[in-house]
Symmetry: C2
Subunit: 253 residues, 2 copies
DNA sequence: GCAAAAGTGTTCATGGTACACCCATGG
DNA sequence: CCATGGGTGTACCATGAACACTTTTGC
């Protein structure tokens, strides 16, 4: 738990450095052991959870702010980020305010401000992340996508918005470069899609469809050592992948 | 042109009533005579143009703010609005600041603030709109989509972002209820699509595709009076239309 | 009766869905 | 030697693209 002194210092720094009324919340997706994961924070003395978030410095582009915030939580740089919605309900963020209103009068309490929150989702390499709680949190850790805990504030809504946006992206853009290791097998990539979509896909049709995108290179050597038939290893063709990202796949019209 | 007195009054009101650092810009689409149009403003003593925009009141939901702003520019209520992006470059809005910096010192000039702008696009009934300039503008008028003028600030970028978002929407949602009159012919609806996409479509395939969406009702009586064969009149089946809006069409996966 | 607009139909290629079949490996 | 995982192939259907034909109407 924060001391009053720490809180006062944070609020005075915040007022100096950050834009009023604007915050950023990020839904960070990682992939591990066939499961999509989301990076969450649990505040001190709380059972419910929050998304990693923060504020925008006075002369900082918002995308850079999102990157800075995530660098603090994950240790990662140059994260794949996608802005997807602004949550602008005036009553959306009473949590921190309520939590600290005993300690500070409203006019000194940064959290008594109204905040619009810009929602980003991020796709990151699970193994590259070293989860790091912020000063308000006791824990920062991965949670399974299909086993989300209860959220504080409107963060469930933000999480769901991010998942919807990610699912939409599957329809017209490639996904996976930021989530998978350098090399992977087709069944592993399929697990990624299944985990995002929350449903099983046909093995053979998946393979044809993905290969049809023309963004994968097959390695010469199949993976060895496992039981059963050795699967081929694939990697993303970065140039074609980037091109597909900007061009998009098939647009109905 | 604004007098110094008016400007001072605006700035002091703005500081009292609006959130710092947040603005809203809207790309308003209308359809008339086979052409998509966009509602634009031209400031006093300027040749370049701006999108209709404004600020968010301290206790106002952002969607309500966008509605209020558009009500002032168009006279319309309950507009179809879609949030599509936040423009957050710290240097994005120097125009008004430069324009008025001779009149007011920075600390009294509302426009010396940095503003993030939340981009909305709107689909409206062309005939329902009574364009109304704001106090900074000499003109508020429709401009053809395929003949856009030069913009001030980053408003060209915002306009292009909106058009891209609208084109994307065509792929998975119905469009037209907010833009077309109650009744219309198939060729008229096709013109709408062609104008948005900026390309010709095949008459017959268009018809089958649109009808396949199952959101149109055909009137018993065809339109009379014109030259050539009388076309059928259609109207949107509002219930099915709304359902298609929320459900979306075919999602790739 | 001809040009233009509009409704209806047909063909063909493509892409998705649901399968069947074959290969490799460890127990 | 067989269960399991993994690679490849096929039949079928829906959908989209390209194009032909017919109907109506004013000049």
């Amino acid at each position: 738990m924060l001391t009053k002194k720490q809180l006062i210092e944070f609020c005075s720094d915040a007022r100096k450095n950050y834009l009023d009324h604007v915050s950023i919340d990020c839904v960070v997706f990682g992939f591990h052991e066939g499961q999509m994961k989301v990076l969450l924070l649990r505040p001190h003395d709380e059972t419910k959870w929050l998304l990693p978030g923060g504020f925008v410095m006075r002369q900082e582009p918002i995308e850079m702010a999102a990157n800075r915030i995530l660098k603090e939580r994950t240790g990662l740089d140059k994260i794949f980020l996608q802005q997807f919605f602004v949550f602008g309900d005036p009553d959306r963020a009473k949590f921190h305010h309520d939590l600290y209103k005993e300690m500070l009068p409203d006019d000194e309490n940064w959290f008594s401000n109204r905040f619009l929150s810009i929602g980003y989702y991020a796709l990151v390499d699970f193994f590259g992340v070293v989860p790091q709680p912020d000063q308000f949190s006791a824990t920062c850790t991965w949670r399974d996508l299909d086993d989300m805990p209860e959220f504080l504030l409107d963060h469930e809504q933000i999480f769901k918005g991010a998942l919807d946006a990610l699912r939409l992206q599957l329809n017209y853009q490639p996904i996976g470069y930021n989530l998978m290791p350098k090399q992977f097998t087709m069944p592993e990539l399929q697990k990624l899609y299944e985990s995002i979509l929350g449903k099983k896909l046909d093995r053979r049709n998946f393979q044809r469809r993905i290969l049809g995108f023309g963004i994968l290179n097959r390695a010469e050597q199949p993976r060895k050592g496992g039981a059963h038939k050795a699967p081929y290893l694939y990697s993303f063709d970065l140039e074609k992948y980037q091109n597909a990202l900007t061009e998009g796949f098939k647009g109905g019209w």
